[in-house]
Amino acid sequence: MSSKVDTSKFIPRFVSHHFSNADQEFDSCKLGMWLFLLTEFMLFGGIFVAYVVFRTWYPETFESGAEKLDWKMGAVNTVILITSSVTMAVAIRDVQLNKKGRALALMLITVLCGMGFLVVKYFEYHHKFELGIFPGGFFSFMGDHMSNEHLYFSIYFMATATHVLHVILGLIAILWVSWRTAKGEFYEAYYTPVEMVGLYWHLVDLIWIFLFPLLYLTK
């Protein structure tokens, strides 16, 4: 990063007292964030393992289950999330370059994308529930389906609901940094929270990029 200020000497307003300078704080937060992202990976890892196990046990069931999902909606959501990752990344860059106004606008676009994702997801869920496609023991779909198809939908709902929860938390976090950006708290020498929230949002995006082909494009 090409900052003009020597950050190792300059102690901005928000550096906590036990760090010697903004660089040390930034490095620490970044490492901490990566570790946290690792825990998120392990958490989703559990669901992915369950997916692999049952897909090996019941391959046809999984194909038949995936056919009941609307891959177009999934694809739209994939595009939305990738776009939002790009806008967030550029927003971080803008904060570093002191372009506050554009950064703020990009963050708000990111939030809109995230909300768009949730709306699409809402319609998908709604449609499934209307057809009686519920997880596990509550599965009451009357149309053509394979035995044990409820397991496919258990995994679908557990994985996507956990992911949606992460999207919501991510949106709250982005709104929080947008608000602080609006107040002018971030600039070239101090932008740690923005960068951390950005990393988190990329994780949310990345998990979806795994979920989409696994769940929707099973064939």
Partner: protein
């Protein structure tokens, strides 16, 4: 002299006063003390259940009437004993209590990297503990699944499964937060001059522990969430009636819980390294071997979980691999033991209380580790699995290892933590009583298990004389042990009211934590950036 007393007047306890100054504190030392108090309360609660279990099994007739509903009462006792000891005491006790207090002092920092997250960790612990308490006394049917929550029983039982698993889920986050904090602190906040291989071994141990906390705990989190979903939404992933797989639950559970046993023991091993070298007045033997073996344990322990499932119906080939890897994970532990013993060799040893505990650790942990090997062997495990032999094995490592190391650390760091010296003679007597009580309680259980006494039963065959004798023994031992622990804690608490002020470095130790005042001032060191002057363990 007058300057020292003046300096001693201000410390992190009295620099701010009042309940709120504790509730909102970001000081790692205060958080460590609060964790210490909380986990010791948990130790006593778990201990009370242990004594009830032993009282019941003292005779074949037991104290409870021999009817089915009381069988569930017994099941509840051992379940709560296990849940409390594992999730509320042993996992937080050394890292979050002693580690929180000592780690920043040892690296020469003002605090951990993320003090707010540290406080959040403590509050999550309190919330988790409160949920667990609600699950116990809140009027729900008591939990009887054992701490392992195996399905399908944990799905069918009326017990407070959701409440308790949710409590464990919250506690898991508290553990993750501590882990992240420690890793970052060790990476980024070490004092100038402290390269990786100049770190005291307790730091290596806490580092390895934190890796396990960060990587393994989330898997427990998702497992418990799936179990809750199993009960509420009938997702069927673990339920054979719905086409799911209960053995998958065991895989998930042990993928966390085997690394978790190393979350329990590694920090204890770190304390033992500090104590043994300090009271041997000698450079620790094989510093690098001990440091690297901590990391080796952290890595290999992720690959052995299947040794808890040799009889679950997993494939024989998986069993073979898990058996082999389990033997492999025993090697780094053995390396440590050999190095500690080599440190003792021809050293000028003194027998202060922490050293007495460390020596009893060496003895007990070795028994615990060696008795693990027959369990790791496929053919012998068929006989020993789910018997009292397993109970004896894991108590030798968890109590004889971790808890005794915790006691060693408590006595070692007590002067630094509270600024007072305890009564040395009483501390040694307590150590001896604990040692005797422990062996009477748990050595007898090897015989029980070897002759086929299953675990988790509330009675046994009264015509079996050996069993009656050994169970009787074990119960007497448990009360001796409880008595010893009571003396130990009374002695420590009594020191708070004494006027035996602790010097800054009562044991003449060489690590940076002892350069601070006892108890330390708010930001630990009087210099702004303390520099490491001496490698650890340079006793001369």
């Amino acid at each position: 002299m007058s300057t020292t007393t003046q300096q001693n007047d201000v410390n992190f306890y009295n620099c701010k006063k009042g309940f709120m100054s504790w509730a909102y504190t970001l000081d790692h030392k205060r958080i460590g003390i609060m964790y210490l108090v909380a986990s010791c309360v948990a130790l006593f609660a778990g201990g009370a259940f242990a004594l009830m279990i032993r009282a019941q099994l003292a005779t074949p007739g037991g104290m409870l009437p021999m009817t089915p509903e009381y069988k569930d009462t017994y099941n509840m006792w051992f379940t709560l004993h296990g849940v409390i000891m594992v999730f509320l005491f042993i996992i937080p006790a050394i890292p979050a209590a002693i580690g929180n207090f000592i780690l920043p002092l040892m690296v020469g920092a003002k605090d951990v990297a993320f003090p707010r997250m540290n406080l959040a960790s403590f509050y999550l612990y309190v919330i988790g503990a409160s949920i667990a308490l609600y699950g116990i006394v809140g009027g729900e049917t008591p939990l009887t699944t054992g701490w392992t929550f195996y399905l399908p029983y944990s799905k069918e039982t009326a017990g407070a499964v959701i409440t308790m698993t949710f409590a464990a889920f919250v506690l898991g986050f508290s553990s993750i937060f501590t882990g992240i904090n420690f890793i970052v602190t060790i990476h980024k906040l070490r004092a100038p001059g402290m390269s990786w291989y100049k770190m005291p071994l307790l730091l290596w141990a806490l580092y390895a522990t934190s890796i396990l906390q960060v990587l393994a705990t989330p898997v427990l989190g998702i497992t418990l969430m799936l179990l809750i979903a199993e009960r509420t939404l009938q997702v069927g992933i673990f339920d054979p009636a719905l086409g799911g797989d209960p053995v998958l639950f065991q895989h998930f559970f042990w993928f966390y819980s085997h690394p978790a046993v190393y979350i329990m023991i590694l920090p204890g091993m770190g304390i033992i390294s500090e104590v043994i070298s300090c009271f041997s007045r000698k450079v620790i033997f094989g510093y690098k071997a001990i440091a690297n073996s901590s990391i080796a344990i952290a890595v290999i322990s992720f690959l052995v979980w299947g040794h808890h499932m040799f009889l679950s119906g997993q494939s024989v080939y998986a069993g073979l691999v898990f058996s082999f890897l389990t033997f492999l994970v025993a090697i780094p532990s053995a390396i440590k033991v050999f190095n500690w013993v080599a440190t003792l060799h021809r050293a000028s040893i003194t027998f202060e209380a922490p050293m007495c505990y460390a020596l009893s650790f060496l003895f007990l942990f070795t028994i615990g580790g060696l008795t693990g090997l027959p369990l790791a062997t496929l053919s012998t495990d068929i006989v020993l699995h789910d018997t009292y032999y397993v109970v004896a094995h894991f108590h030798y490592v968890m109590f004889g290892g971790t808890v005794i190391a915790f006691f060693a650390g408590l006595h070692f760091y007590w002067p630094k933590m509270v600024g007072k010296m305890y009564n040395e003679t009483v501390a040694k007597i307590a150590c001896l009583i604990v040692f005797i009580g422990f062996n009477v309680t748990f050595f007898s259980q090897f015989f029980l298990g070897y002759t086929g006494m299953p675990r988790r039963y509330f009675t046994y065959d009264s015509s079996n004389e050996l069993w009656s004798q050994m169970h009787g023994f074990s119960s007497i031992g448990a009360f001796i042990l409880g008595f010893g622990v009571l003396i130990l804690f009374s002695n420590l608490l009594a020191s708070l009211f004494s006027d035996r002020k602790a010097p800054n470095n009562p044991w003449g130790a060489t690590t940076m934590d002892w350069e601070t005042q006892s108890p330390p001032i708010l930001e630990n060191f009087s210099e702004d950036v303390p520099v490491m002057k001496k490698a650890p363990y340079e006793y001369d």
